[in-house]
C-alpha cells in the first residue's frame, strides 16, 4: 500500500521525471534494436561506437545527479565528486584486469602486465578478491562510500562549509591523483588499467556486450533518479533545503545538520562510484587523470548549465554539455573547448541562474499566460 503511494508520488506529480523515464525507456528499446537487429549497411543502423558514446553520457548523467543531490538541495559544493567516480572506476578496472588472465603481453596468469614489468613477484594484498565480479561491484560502492563517510564526518562535524569545503574536496581529489600516478601504489601508475578483454566471460568488444552495458547504464540512471527524487520529496529533502537556505536555523529547530549532510554526501559518493564502475568497461580504460580536479569542476558546470536543484536539469546538463564537448573537440574548435565551457558557465551563472531548465520553465509559463489571455478576451480579437 505504502509502496504504491510512494510510487504514485514519485511518478504522478513529476512531469519532467515522466518525460525522462519515457526517454530512457525509448533508449532501452530502440538502441538495442537499431544496433543489433538493423543491418549494418542500413541508414537506420546505430553503430556500436555511438552506443558506447551514449552510455558514456549517461554515466556522466548519473554523476551529475549525484552532485545535484548534495549541491542543488543541500548546498554542499563538492569539487571532488570526480574522485568517487574514479575510485568506482578503478574497482571495476581491477576486476577487468584480473579477467585478462594469461592473455596479457607477458602471458603471466597471476599478475597484470604492469606488475610483471615492475618485477613484482606476487599480487599485492589489496588486489585479492578482485577476481570476483561481485566483490569488485561491492568495492565500487564501498570504497567511495567509506571514504565519503570518513571525509564527511571530519568536515561536517568541524562545520567546514562553503568555499572551505569546496577547497578541501579539491585537495582530496588532487591528492588521490598524485597517489594513483605513483607506480608503487600498484594501480598501474600513469597508464592506469587498460587492455581489458572480458566482463563476466563476455567479450568487451562485441556489440552485444556493449548494448547490455548500455542497457544496464540506462536502468541505473533511472533508479538513481528515483532514489534522488524519493529523497528530495521526503521530509528529509525539505530538511536538506532548509540546511541550504539557513543552516543555523535548521540546527535551532533541533536537526543534527552534520548527520543529514553526511547521509547525502555518502549517497552521492556511492552513486558517483557506481557511475564510474559502469563507465570503465564501456570506455576501456581508467587512469589517474580521472582524478584531475578539472573533471570535478566540469561536473559542477554540467549541473549549473542544466539547472541546479531539479535533478532532471542535472541529467539534461550532463547530456547537453558532453554532446557539445564531443561535437566541438572533434572539429576546428577543439582548442577552444575549455574557453567555450568557461564562457558558458559564466553566462549561465550570471544570466540564467536556474540553467536551461529555468529558461524552459519561464518560456512555458509565458506561453501559458499568453494562451490564458487570448482565451479570456476572444471578443476583442477581430
Amino acid at each position: 500500500m505504502r509502496d504504491t503511494s510512494v510510487l504514485q508520488r514519485l511518478l504522478l506529480q513529476d512531469k519532467p521525471g515522466k518525460i525522462l523515464l519515457g526517454c530512457l525507456c525509448g533508449l532501452v528499446v530502440l538502441v538495442p534494436i537499431f544496433n543489433l537487429l538493423v543491418p549494418a549497411d542500413s541508414f537506420f543502423h546505430v553503430p556500436t561506437y555511438v552506443v558506447t558514446l551514449l552510455g558514456k553520457y549517461l554515466c556522466f548523467a548519473i554523476l551529475a545527479l549525484a552532485l545535484d543531490l548534495i549541491w542543488g538541495y543541500c548546498g554542499i559544493l563538492s569539487l571532488g565528486q570526480g574522485a568517487f567516480f574514479a575510485l568506482g572506476g578503478y574497482a571495476m578496472g581491477m576486476y577487468l584486469m584480473r579477467q585478462i588472465g594469461d592473455r596479457g603481453v607477458y602471458g603471466n596468469a597471476n599478475l597484470p602486465d604492469f606488475m610483471v614489468f615492475l618485477n613484482w613477484q606476487e599480487l599485492p594484498w589489496y588486489w585479492t578478491g578482485f577476481d570476483h565480479f561481485g566483490f569488485a561491484v561491492l568495492m565500487a560502492v564501498l570504497v567511495p562510500g567509506v571514504l565519503a563517510f570518513v571525509f564527511g564526518w571530519l568536515a561536517f562535524r568541524s562545520r567546514v562549509t562553503g568555499v572551505y569545503l569546496s577547497i578541501i574536496t579539491q585537495a582530496l581529489t588532487y591528492a588521490l591523483m598524485l597517489a594513483f600516478f605513483r607506480n608503487d601504489m600498484g594501480f598501474g601508475g600513469n597508464n592506469g588499467l587498460t587492455d581489458f578483454k572480458e566482463i563476466l566471460g563476455c567479450d568487451l568488444q562485441s556489440s552485444t556486450t556493449r548494448v547490455v552495458l548500455f542497457v544496464v547504464t540506462v536502468i541505473t540512471l533511472a533508479l538513481s533518479y528515483f532514489l534522488c527524487k524519493y529523497i528530495t520529496i521526503s521530509k528529509l529533502g525539505r530538511v536538506l533545503v532548509s540546511i541550504r537556505d539557513a543552516e543555523s536555523r535548521t540546527r535551532f529547530m533541533g536537526y543534527r545538520v552534520e548527520h543529514y549532510k553526511l547521509l547525502v554526501f555518502v549517497i552521492s559518493a556511492v552513486l558517483a562510484g557506481i557511475a564510474g564502475a559502469l563507465y570503465v568497461p564501456q570506455i576501456g580504460i581508467i587512469n589517474p587523470s580521472e582524478f584531475n580536479p578539472l573533471n570535478s569542476i566540469e561536473i559542477v558546470i554540467w549541473v549549473a548549465i542544466g539547472g541546479r536543484g531539479t535533478l532532471y536539469g542535472a541529467v539534461l546538463g550532463a547530456l547537453l554539455v558532453n554532446y557539445g564537448k564531443t561535437y566541438f573537440t572533434g572539429g576546428i574548435f577543439a582548442e577552444f573547448w575549455l574557453f567555450i565551457l568557461g564562457a558558458l558557465f559564466i553566462v549561465t551563472t550570471i544570466y540564467l541562474p536556474r540553467g536551461v531548465v529555468g529558461v524552459a520553465d519561464n518560456w512555458l509559463a509565458l506561453r501559458r499566460q499568453k494562451r490564458l489571455l487570448l482565451a479570456a478576451a476572444p471578443v476583442e480579437q477581430v
Partner: protein, 252 residues
C-alpha cells in the same frame, strides 16, 4: 546538588556568565532567573549583549565562565544547538529567518515537534493529528491564506509571525524571542504582543525588544541589560524611573 522531586523551580538560571570577544566583555557576570511559566521582557541599548545572551543559552556561543542551567539540573554549556532545541528551548532570531524556498506550510511542518533522526525523517509520514496541528498554528499566526506560498514571498511582518509559529509548533518549554516586533507596523506590533501573551499562558517566554509600547503591552517583569550585565529588574514603570536606567538611555 540533588534533583528536587517537586516541580521545577527555575526554568532557566544564569549565574556569573561572562563572554569575552577579543578582550571586549560582551557579557559580564550576568545573572538571570526565569521561573516556569514566566513571561520576561529584556530591554537594553544596542550592544548590551541581549543577542549574545541568547547565543549562550542556545549553545551557539560557549561562555568563558558561568553557569547556564535549564530546568534546575541541565547544564546547557555541555550541549550543542540541536541538543538544546530538542531539550525544549526554541529561539526566534533577531533577523527573521524562515526557510525561503519552502512554502509556509512546509516551514511549519519542518519545525513540527517530532523525531529529528535522519532515517525517521526520510520515511516520515504526516499523521492526521499533525496535519491538524499545522493548520491550527497557521490560523493562530493569521496566515491560512498564504499556506502554499513560498516563505520568500511573505512580507517582513508575516515572516516574523511565521517564525513565531515555527517556534510554537516546535513545542518548546522555553521560548527565546529576539526583537519580534522589529520592522512591524503599530498594528502588527500590538497583534504580536497579544500573540506572545497568549503563548506565555503555557510556555515560559523571554522576549528581547526595543519598542517600549510593545513592552508595556506585554505587562510583564522587565530586565534591563547594560554592558553585559543586569542594570535593573522589576515592573516597567518602576524600572523607567530608575536613575541609572534613564542615564543609560539618555546618555547615548
Amino acid at each position: 546538588m540533588t534533583q528536587a522531586h517537586s516541580a521545577v523551580k527555575s526554568i532557566l538560571y544564569l549565574n556569573g556568565v561572562t563572554k569575552t570577544f577579543d578582550g571586549f566583555k560582551a557579557i559580564n557576570n550576568l545573572c538571570l532567573d526565569i521561573r516556569p511559566g514566566e513571561l520576561r521582557a529584556i530591554i537594553g541599548p544596542n550592544g548590551a549583549g541581549k543577542t549574545t545572551m541568547m547565543d549562550i543559552i542556545t549553545g551557539k556561543t560557549k561562555p568563558d565562565v558561568g553557569e547556564v542551567v535549564f530546568r534546575d539540573s541541565i547544564d546547557l554549556t555541555q550541549h550543542d544547538e540541536a541538543d538544546i532545541a530538542n531539550l525544549g528551548i526554541g529561539r526566534k532570531f533577531q533577523k527573521p529567518t524562515v526557510i525561503e524556498s519552502l512554502s509556509v506550510w512546509e516551514n511549519l511542518e519542518l519545525a513540527l515537534a517530532g523525531k529529528r533522526n535522519v532515517f525517521q525523517t526520510l520515511f516520515f509520514r504526516l499523521t492526521q493529528a499533525q496535519a491538524h496541528r499545522v493548520d491550527e498554528i497557521l490560523a493562530l499566526i493569521g496566515l491560512p491564506a498564504r499556506r502554499d506560498d513560498l516563505a520568500r514571498n511573505l512580507s517582513h511582518g508575516q515572516k516574523q509571525w511565521l517564525e513565531i509559529g515555527m517556534l510554537i509548533i516546535q513545542a518548546p518549554q522555553l521560548l527565546l524571542v529576539d526583537e519580534p516586533a522589529a520592522g512591524m507596523t503599530d498594528y502588527e506590533t500590538m497583534e504580536t504582543a497579544k500573540l506572545l501573551k497568549n503563548i506565555s499562558k503555557d510556555h515560559s517566554v523571554v522576549v528581547v525588544e526595543h519598542d517600549m509600547e510593545f513592552i508595556r503591552a506585554l505587562d510583564s517583569r522587565v530586565t534591563v541589560l547594560h554592558e553585559g550585565s543586569v542594570l535593573a529588574e522589576g515592573r516597567l514603570d518602576v524600572v523607567q524611573k530608575d536613575q541609572r536606567v534613564i542615564d543609560v538611555y539618555l546618555g547615548r
